[in-house]
């Protein structure tokens, strides 16, 4: 919905300041940015690797020069083999980006730091023609891939210093223009790719706890977690459980205790048709701006099974009671221009700034889309994986994907037939997609007449085909 962000001219000394020609455009910009900042958000999918294995994790994102820094965080435990991080070169081979030879047999940070950064700008000439940064991780032992995203604001608008407007005062044109600049700052940061939520039917047969899905996010302070699931085959004894936790981003069950002693946010311990569970994250003592992970897993006991859990959707959204402190004013020709209304515009933007202290920030972080774990050879230990779809709330115009499958609508609010346990309903609309092998697939979602912005949809594997990853992008 980029076109809904209005363009506003720079104001110069002596210029007329109009209602619809200037002031209301600022309000519309704020409203647009607020909608993005408070819209449903999804996650970076973390991966756990059970042992020494090649091709343990893949991720990709469109490289953009504004965001040249790769942020990568992985925790590894290896004793004999080396771990490697590769990038895909335009010569059609993998080139090493980094490696770690740690052989302590204890948990350590890949590359020696929890927050590794790599300057991809220096490599950008080596990237393939489609401009995609594709990474591959070959594991030398156990590993958690916690974080992989691009950052940086090269050439982007700087945050303005808003004046305090005062009635009876004459602001300078430059001061007025800060209201314009602030909108552009937020716009540029709001334009980042969107990952969907991986879902499907999941289970494992071991008589123990196993995480099924780890979804990382940055907490913005006003959110609730929405988890939509259905379950079948759960032992009715009450001993089989499907749990949802929120943990620190770098939660490692081998070395970390659970947050708050292991607060269970959702427990599905009986068969259920599609149910949406909401969790007020503001009650979970999370720190605004810090990173966390939603962990969904199953606990089978010797006596009971947690059955099959269908993960329909996991998303972050505004708490029901969240209100906007500074709602932009709407001016009409002939209205006096009150300082309070200009200050409210500035305050509203400050609330949306990508600052850890702000609510609803718009972080300029471009997360890599993790590939689907196709099977256990991907290094996923334990559970049977049936993660077959990626759910999106349509926001950006272009869909990047790798693999083959289809884009389909949600019929009557339930997922498509093939993977639905209950509420059998076929998608009303679908379109088959396939990539070209070397380059990623790209589809202009505006070409799908049935798909409107704000609508949920799936990018889905179909029989015999596999969607490896998908992202919505704001630019082709």
């Amino acid at each position: 919905m980029l076109s809904a962000f209005p363009l506003v001219r720079t104001l110069y000394t002596g210029d007329l300041v109009g209602a619809d020609s200037w002031l209301n455009l600022l309000s519309k910009r704020n409203n647009w940015a607020y909608g993005v900042a408070h819209g449903p958000n999804r996650f970076f999918r973390q991966v756990y690797v059970g042992g020494m294995i090649s091709n343990a994790w893949f991720g990709e994102v469109r490289y953009r020069s504004e965001h040249p820094t790769l942020n990568f965080s992985a925790e590894i435990k290896q004793s004999a083999y080396t771990s490697y991080l590769y990038y895909w070169h335009k010569d059609q081979t993998w080139h090493e980006l980094d490696s770690d030879t740690d052989s302590s047999g204890a948990w350590a940070w890949f590359g020696g730091s929890q927050s590794m950064t790599y300057d991809i700008a220096a490599l950008s000439a080596n990237l393939p023609d489609d401009g995609m940064l594709r990474l591959k991780y070959n594991s030398g032992g156990e590993a958690y891939i916690y974080r992989a995203y691009m950052s940086g604001t090269v050439g982007m608008t700087a945050w303005p210093t808003f004046p305090t407007f005062a009635d009876a005062g004459i602001p300078t044109a430059a001061q007025m223009n800060t209201l314009r600049t602030g909108g552009e700052y937020l716009y540029e940061r709001a334009c980042h790719n969107l990952n969907g939520t991986t879902g499907g039917n999941v289970s494992h047969s071991n008589p123990s706890w196993a995480p099924l899905l780890r979804l990382a996010f940055r907490y913005s302070g006003t959110e609730q977690l929405r988890v939509t699931t259905s379950a079948e085959g759960v032992d009715g004894s009450g001993d089989g459980h499907n749990y949802v936790y929120v943990e620190a981003e770098d939660y490692n069950p081998d070395s970390d205790g659970r947050r708050g002693g292991g607060v269970i946010l959702v427990d599905v311990d009986a068969d259920e048709t599609e149910v949406t569970h909401t969790v007020d994250l503001s009650a979970q003592s999370l720190t605004v701006g810090a990173r966390y992970v939603v962990e969904i897993g199953q606990l089978n006991t010797l006596a009971a099974s947690a059955g099959y859990l269908t993960i329909h959707d996991v998303a972050l959204e505004d708490l029901a009671g969240v209100t906007r402190t500074d709602v932009p004013h709407v001016w009409a020709e002939g209205d006096e221009i009150l300082a309070a209304d200009l200050n409210a515009l500035a305050d509203d933007m400050t609330d949306m700034q990508d600052d850890a202290g702000s609510g609803s920030p718009i972080w300029p972080e471009h997360y890599l889309a993790s590939y689907q774990p196709a099977d256990e050879e991907r290094g996923i230990k334990g559970p049977f994986w049936g993660l077959k779809w990626i759910r999106f709330t349509h926001r950006w115009r272009f869909l990047r994907y790798r693999g083959s499958g289809r884009i389909c609508s949600i019929a009557n609010g339930v997922p498509p037939r093939e993977f639905s346990i209950t509420g059998e309903a076929a998608p009303t609309y679908q379109r088959n997609i396939t990539d070209t092998g070397q380059d990623e697939g790209l589809i202009d979602l505006d070409s799908l007449g049935w798909l409107a912005y704000g609508m949920d949809y799936y990018v889905q594997d179909t029989a015999g085909h596999l969607i490896l990853c998908a992202q919505e992008d704001y630019r082709a």
Binding site: Y12, A19, E333, L338
Partner: protein
């Protein structure tokens, strides 16, 4: 009003002072040569001219439709000075067609410039030993030029406010020293594809209700729609000033529904925008020039695919070079293929251009209604390619809804003793007891004649274009915030 060099304002009303006229021609393209004033020199016999920022034949809705200013000069040609066919004459030596010409007028030896332009026609008369020059203001020049550009509004070429785009186009046309007010709105996407530059600048101006014309000095001038907000009267006239004053209400241009169609643009994904439809043979050592016209303008260029071979199909790509490796404009590529091979003809069998194209979305119409209890009278703003957003349409229609709500008072003051200080757009206070005139008017047209006397006719439109006064202007005394401060424009 122009600055008075002395006593022109006084002499324009006094009636006794001798009119004065000066005609200058830039024979060598650099220096102005005075062809001699009537009061003392040889050649100038008379002149007339007209300039307008509203088409009187259309009425008030045409405010902003500036016609090309014209002037006619009658010169004595007893020496054959202006005859290009007369061997050795000034015109034969230096030429006359297309020469810059400047006309100044005034009283008692004082003058100000009332027209600047070019000589576009020369009509000679053998028996009467006269010549008549027909001259146009500089607006005639860009009408003959065709220009192309990249697409502005995408990442590499940021979107422009209307005056920025006008400034860009005029720079492409080689028009120097413009006088441009800041535009009110931003034009999201703009590009040129062998377009008429003057027409594009006018269209861009009218996309926000602005006006574009060349003033008496030949300066390209852009006024935004707020040009007359809170502007005080520059001069005043009474019954003593004119032979006749003819006020009337412009009923024909009264509307209570204003419609404006806007056509959003969007960038598409990467696709093929051009494909060579024929085989292009290029002989050994030869260069072939071509202009590739794309199906859609390119918001961004990505790459091209080219296949070059001999008639037998052998690859010749190593022998072909291009002078421009990327498109030279948004919708075209002026390109030269050079075949460096010594004896093989190269056949370009494929040349496909890929990029992100820009195309239009379905057009929409924004309506502002001002109905009251009256019957519908709808005015549709002429379609304008630069009106691409609802925001632009809102500003335009809201403004027009106020301006066209009631029959506007227009007036013509004829046979006035000419005041060369008056300029298009000046606010003139008109007082006339019989017709009850006591209002400020905008001077939208001037027709002047200098022969036995120096007279003019003024076309006037009542100046109450805006519902309020005291509009907020940034960083000025009229930029006071708060209750009792300045108010928002449209």
């Amino acid at each position: 009003m122009r600055a008075d060099p002395g006593n022109i304002a006084t002499n324009a009303t006094a009636g006794a002072a001798t009119p004065y006229l000066k005609v200058e021609i830039q024979w060598n393209g650099v220096n102005w040569i005075d062809e001699g004033s009537v009061s003392g020199a040889t050649y100038v016999l008379g002149a007339s001219g007209q300039s307008q920022i509203m088409d009187p034949a259309v009425g008030f809705t045409s405010l902003g439709t500036a016609l090309i200013g014209k002037a006619t000069v009658r010169l004595r040609n007893n020496t054959g000075r202006y005859s290009t066919s007369r061997a050795g004459s000034q015109a034969a030596t230096l030429g006359l067609w297309g020469k810059a010409i400047r006309i100044s007028a005034g009283y008692a030896g004082e003058s100000v410039v009332v027209f600047t332009g070019r000589v576009l026609d020369v009509q000679e008369a053998e028996a009467t030993e006269e010549v008549t020059l027909t001259c146009h203001d500089p607006g005639s020049d860009p009408r003959r030029q065709k220009i192309s550009s990249y697409v502005y509004g995408v990442a590499a070429y940021p979107a422009k406010a209307s005056h920025d785009w006008i400034d860009y186009v005029r720079s492409q046309l080689g028009i120097a020293s413009p006088s441009l007010e800041h535009g009110l709105m931003v034009i999201p996407y703009a590009w040129l594809d062998d377009d008429d530059g003057l027409s594009e600048m006018r269209t861009a101006a009218s996309s926000e209700g602005g006006i574009l014309f060349f003033d008496a000095d030949g300066l390209l001038t852009f006024w935004n729609a707020g040009h007359w907000a809170d502007v005080a009267a520059a001069d005043a006239i009474t019954v003593a000033s004119f032979a006749e004053l003819a006020p009337r209400r412009d009923w024909a241009n009264t509307y209570n529904i204003i419609g404006c169609q806007y056509a959003p643009r969007k960038e598409r994904g990467i696709e093929k925008v051009y494909s060579l439809k024929r085989t292009l043979p290029i002989g050994p050592g030869e260069t072939h020039s071509d202009v590739l016209n794309f199906q859609w303008p390119l918001a961004s260029f990505n790459y091209y695919d080219m296949t070059v071979c001999t008639a037998g199909g052998a690859d010749m790509s190593a022998s072909i070079t291009l002078d421009n490796a990327t498109p030279t404009a948004g919708q075209r590529w002026a390109i030269e293929f050079t075949n460096s091979h010594a004896y093989q003809t190269a056949y370009v069998t494929q040349f496909d251009v890929f990029g992100s194209a820009l195309d239009g979305r379905q057009a929409e119409t924004y309506l502002t209604t001002n109905l009251g209890t009256d019957q519908d009278r709808r005015y549709d703003v002429p379609r304008n390619a630069y009106v691409q957003t609802e925001e632009q349409a809102i500003v335009l229609t809201d403004m027009l809804a106020d301006r066209l709500a009631t029959p506007r008072l227009v007036a013509t003051a004829t046979n006035m003793r000419a005041n060369p200080l008056w300029q298009l757009g000046d606010i003139i206070t008109v007082t006339a007891a019989l017709t009850g005139m006591a209002s400020d008017f905008i001077l939208t047209g001037i027709t002047w004649q200098w022969s036995d006397a120096y007279v003019m006719t003024a076309q006037l439109v009542k100046a109450d274009l805006y519902p309020h006064s005291g509009y907020f202007r940034a960083e000025t005394a009229a930029g006071v915030l708060g209750a009792g401060g300045n108010v928002a424009f449209y």
